[in-house]
Amino acid sequence: MSPLDVIKIREDFPVLRERVYGKPLIYLDNAATTQKPRAVIETIDRFYSRENANIHRGVFCLSEKATQCYEGARHKVKVFLGAASDKEIVFVRGATEAINLVAATWGRAFLKAGDEVLITHMEHHSNIVPWQMLRDEKGIRLKVAPVNDSGELIMEEFRKLLTGKVRLVSVVHVSNALGTINPVGEIIRLAHEQGARVLVDGAQAVAHRAVNVRELDADFYVLSGHKLFAPTGIGVLYGKEELLEKMPPYQGGGDMIRSVTFDQTIYNRIPYKFEAGTPHIAGVIGLGAAVDYLREIGLDKIAAYEHELLEYGTKKLMEVPGLRLIGTAEKKAAVLSFVLGEAHAHDIGTILDRSGIAIRAGHHCAMPLMRRFNVPATTRASFAFYNTKEEIDLLAEALREVTEVFK
């Protein structure tokens, strides 16, 4: 495997040439959203300039072309995730909607009072709140598996909580706030032994490592396009065909039906049953382009490069006086969440911003996790394969400046 040519990669991302307050933009908020390569931008531009029409309806050339592009993108995503069939790929607005869809359809139809859903302490709000809503509606029980001081799931405790009453384990693949990579393969194996289904929130995983849903044997796997170098407003729910077939529809409307009378509606087959209304066609096609782009580079190459960044960044940041990393799991993605002496995350964010460095300050939509680590907020630098060691040096330098202000 040849190493990644980051100089060449950076040329693919127009926004990386931007300057902020006269300084080159250093974009380190990739866990929030990723930048878009020219391949994606141009695909969307071409779609709107030359191919735009509604899909699945028109008999005219342009509509057929748009439908082909849309369904072609579905197939690309299927291959990207290693799904068994295109039918298992449902397009939604993002990972959040995908989880809500599963809670609202599978959860409502198949969970009853007393059944348990098991999540972890490191979930994003989007994998907590939908289950709380279902709990309040159906009387299910929501259980939370604890994490240790390094930010790793305590598997022994997880196993204890995984009783016969657990019907669903809903777990994040890679923590957005800590970078922890969860052993989802093992989690799925254990859950299946107990007869529980597993939903994996892959929002932070798919852009950084190769994922194969069939090898994992995940029942549901969800992702957001915009964290995968694709547009906002598009995401994917992967579900095993047998599960999707049994699930009631999500929203009612056009495209999700086969026939409608005022007495009765016959629903369309999967995945269309879950895609009511005109979808985000350009978004889907853009997602297809992003997937192509990543496959061309190779996710193994990306993962290896990002691991290098993680090791270098960890070392550099640990040298900043007073800096404490939050999240030091043995298996980590390139996310560095930290607190720095007395400086509040928002002050750090403001000071770094004036050096052109974009990072996230706050609770990262994981308030229970912040409470677990007894911090109101952290500062988080999250990397993508277009980031460089030089950028990490500048980050460390700017953080030293923060310590000067707050000494």
Binding site: A343, H346, D347, R354, S355, P376, A377, V405, F406
Partner: protein, 151 residues
């Protein structure tokens, strides 16, 4: 350091951040109000003790960034002895300073030491930090029972 940042993190602000004045719970307060900006995590309680129409004592406690803490600290220092009406008039002055156009002048006569926050308007995302304590104080003067937020 960048001059805008020097403006924002002036010595007086950093001093109030490090050693906030009137940073205490007030058990005999006549009113308590809570301010919370959930997105950034700034969270404080403002305690007011009114006597004969005047603010006899005012304090705060909580957790937040340097700007929100320094703003609360300086506010408590300046409000003691003022009537409710005077406090609200000063709140309006502060609000005008924080939301003004960068190049427009600041009424230093009315604002006094509070003019150190004049640079905050260069940082739109931080105006909510500087104004949280003030909005919370107004809620304390005229309680509606609601948690205050400036986000």
């Amino acid at each position: 350091m960048n001059p805008d940042l020097q403006d924002l993190y002036q010595q007086m602000i950093m001093d109030h951040n490090k050693n906030p004045r009137n940073f205490r719970v007030m058990p005999d307060a006549t009113s308590v109000a809570e301010g919370f900006n959930p997105l950034c995590g700034d969270h404080l309680h403002v305690y007011i003790k009114m006597k004969n129409g005047r603010i006899e004592d005012v304090s705060f406690e909580g957790d937040g960034c340097a700007i929100s803490k320094a703003s609360a600290s300086m506010m408590t220092g300046i409000l003691k002895g003022k009537t409710g009406g005077e406090a609200k008039a000063l709140f309006e002055e502060v609000r005008a300073m924080l939301s003004r156009d960068v190049n427009s002048p600041v009424d230093t006569e009315k604002l006094g030491k509070l003019a150190v926050f004049a640079g905050v308007c260069e940082f739109p995302s931080r105006v909510k930090c500087a104004s949280l304590a003030w909005h919370t104080m107004v809620e304390g003067l005229e309680p509606t029972g609601k948690q205050v937020t400036t986000e």
